[in-house]
């Protein structure tokens, strides 16, 4: 489950021969240098071995689904793909601090791994990729990655950016008024933070000290517009104080660091301490969507450097170093993910599309 040139939008013939060996050297050095730091991290994270392996499985499964989407797109079976590759540690690390089915996720379109970690299955998602009738996200009305899953409290998402931030604030306000022990978590890219709704939602959450957490998955690009043209600060979390929120900037490629930040934020939310803004720095491996080509606006060196920022590879190395995973166990996890995706694809492909005239139903109660 390493990255390949295809998922970066790179032509594989462009891959310089020295890159593989360089990657190996870099990875080896990283693991040498920070071994003791990592061991301390794992111990202090407060996560059991089983939890850590579950998180790894969720990341691997999300990546396997995501990569398959692109294959299906090239086969002409998936008209539209928007991807979360590179964001998995930020999402799964955050989900690990939540209680699926109790806490709310008000997602954005890159949250595939987050949704998987909150209870969505590969099949739930594949139904939407194929636009089949059983799609629990929207009965195939919405494009894929417009998540929504009632049983997991994943709130239906639209395409306009940042509207969901205010919904999360409203959900959290209701939790507070109804004295329910719930946290509302909402996600957005760094581009979305330029919108008025982002401001209005955070302001409301700050006014009422709501059990609310906004995770900005900052991958440096809003389609093609870079971070430097989006905001005048290095981390959008610096705005937290201005809203009366706690703010944290975290390496979104470091799953344990994300978990630690989120654990604190959840404790703050549940104890009445108020809302938190988390800026998670992540890497966007793919083009914005299947209708974009990031080679047009990202330099070749930058795309190649992404190869060394794979959060799954990083977590895998950690688990291997810690002796929590061995090569055989990893192979099994990869295989299980592939099998689950294969089965989901088979079942979804065989499922019926909605009836054409069904689109008139459900406008009103």
């Amino acid at each position: 489950m390493t990255l390949d040139h295809d998922s970066l939008g790179l032509d594989s013939t462009l891959r310089p021969p020295w890159l593989s060996s360089l990657d190996r050297v870099l990875r080896h050095n990283q693991s040498q240098v920070s071994e003791t730091v990592r061991q301390a991290q794992v111990r202090s994270a407060g996560l059991s071995e089983e939890q850590l392996l579950t998180m790894y499985r969720q990341m691997v499964l999300a990546r396997a689904i995501d990569r398959r989407m692109w294959v299906l797109n090239r086969q002409g079976k998936a008209p539209f793909v928007i991807s979360g590759q590179g964001h998995e540690a930020a999402q799964v690390g955050a989900a690990a601090a939540l209680r699926p089915g109790v806490d709310w996720l008000v997602p954005y379109y890159r949250d595939l791994a987050f949704c998987i970690a909150m209870g969505m299955t590969a099949l739930d998602f594949m139904y939407s990729v194929y636009a089949r009738r059983p799609d629990p996200n929207s009965a195939a009305r919405q494009m894929p990655s417009h998540f929504g899953l009632k049983r997991s409290r994943i709130v239906s998402a639209s395409s306009p950016v940042a509207t969901q931030i205010i919904h999360a604030a409203g959900i959290a306000y209701a939790s507070k008024v109804r004295k329910l022990d719930e946290v509302a978590v909402t996600c957005i890219g760094e581009g979305g933070t330029s919108k008025g709704d982002w401001h209005e939602g955070l302001n409301f959450a700050g006014v009422h000290k709501l059990p609310f957490i906004c995770i900005v998955q900052d991958n440096d690009y809003a389609i093609s517009v870079p971070h430097r043209l989006q905001m005048g600060v290095d981390s959008v979390a610096r705005r937290a104080e201005g809203y009366g929120l706690a703010g944290d900037t975290v390496d979104g490629g470091d799953i344990l660091a994300v978990y630690a930040v989120m654990k604190r934020a959840v404790e703050r939310a549940r104890s009445g301490g108020g809302a938190t803004l988390v800026a998670a720095k992540v890497a966007r491996f793919t083009s914005h969507s299947s209708d974009d080509d990031q080679r047009r606006y990202r330099p070749q060196e930058e795309l190649e450097s992404l190869l060394r920022r794979d959060p799954i590879e990083r977590f895998r190395t950690l688990l291997l170093d810690e002796g929590l995973l061995n090569e055989a166990g990893d192979e099994r996890i990869q295989q299980e993910a592939t099998t689950e995706v294969d089965e989901a694809v088979r079942t979804a492909e065989a499922a019926e599309p909605p009836e054409a005239d069904d689109f008139t139903r459900g406008v009103y109660a």
Partner: protein, 327 residues
């Protein structure tokens, strides 16, 4: 039955629904201690407390977005937009989110919210305190659009709106708030969303209106009645869903139709009513469908001569009635 103002009907509806159902809450700018700039929520803050009668930040998209979120998590919000003129920043939340939540989630998530807003002119409100916004929202599937013109309906329709499982835009004509008085039935009642009300029976022509223009149309109908022109005035009350049955039945009876609204002519809701009449009562028509509307200028001017010129009034409506009757 007690005689009350239209705004009293609005206030009573919220008070009774909040007493009946603790999930109901009110949010908006100045709705708390002040009781709203028009006093529609007067007394509710003292009775139900800040958590249920919440002064929000001055941000319309926030007001509607928070309402949507709270509805997803089990509350029944009544959001007040201080003036319909300021609702535009919330358009995305209303149209992209509230109106589509049920549809896009196949019914898994719903949006039982009410958005109340005072609209309409004739109060020296100038460009930004006089607008008509009903056509924007009546265009949107997933929304209901309610426009009461009497105190009884304001109360009964608002109670229905609060109990409705879908988002309801509830527009109250600000000039009618205290100008229009009427009897409000004692005890519990609701007025169903949908059916129009025939306010004046007539056989010569049908006049369709809502809000303040319904009252002006009634005045005009009385004026021309002396000349032998017998006008049927239909108060639509609800633009979405639209009571096409009553509209068509009335035109089949009279053979002539006109629409009166304050919104400007082009793309106003009168165009939709004209189309309904043309499609479903064409063979019964004995004249062109007339529209008495504001002109196509950006908005209502502040100064009195131009405001008067902008607004339809009983004299202009009566003139159109004569013209149509003579056709």
């Amino acid at each position: 039955m007690a005689v009350a103002t239209l705004i009293e009907g609005v206030r009573q509806a919220m008070d009774e629904e909040m007493a009946r159902d603790e999930r109901v809450w009110v949010l908006g700018e100045d709705v708390g201690k002040k009781g709203g700039v028009f006093l529609a929520t007067e007394g509710l803050y003292a009775k139900y407390g800040e958590a249920r009668v919440l002064d929000t930040p001055l941000a319309e998209s926030c007001i509607v977005g928070v309402a949507i979120g709270s509805a997803i998590n089990g509350l029944v919000p009544v959001a007040e937009i201080q003036f319909a003129d300021f609702i535009h920043p919330a358009f995305d939340q209303i149209v992209s989110e509230a109106a589509r939540m049920r549809y896009r989630s196949n019914g898994d998530f719903t949006c039982p919210i009410v958005v109340r807003a005072p609209w309409g002119g004739g109060v020296h409100g100038g460009l930004y305190h006089s607008q008509s916004v009903e056509a924007f929202y009546a265009h949107v599937p997933g929304l209901k659009v309610v426009m009461p013109s009497t105190p009884e309906d304001a109360k009964g329709l608002l109670k229905s709106a609060i109990r409705d499982p879908d988002p309801v835009m509830f527009f109250e004509h600000k000039k009618t708030y205290r100008l229009i008085k009427g009897e409000i039935p004692e005890g519990e009642y609701t007025t169903p969303i949908g059916p129009a009300a025939i306010r004046r029976q007539g056989g010569k022509l049908s006049c369709f209106a809502w809000g303040l223009m319904m009252h002006y149309s009634l005045e005009a109908a009385e004026a021309v009645a002396a000349e032998g022109i017998d006008v049927e005035v239909v108060d639509l009350r609800t633009l979405k869903p639209l009571d096409t049955e009553t509209i068509v039945a009335s035109v089949k009876k009279t053979g002539k139709a006109m629409v009166v609204h304050e919104d400007n002519l082009t793309g106003g809701f009168g165009a939709e009513i004209s189309a309904v009449v043309a499609e479903h009562a064409f063979e019964y028509l004995d004249g062109p469908v007339l529209r008495v509307c504001a002109p196509d200028v950006p908005a209502m001017p502040f100064n009195k001569p131009q405001e008067d010129a902008f607004m339809p009034n009983p004299a202009k409506i009566a003139e159109a009635m004569r013209k149509l009757a003579d056709y």
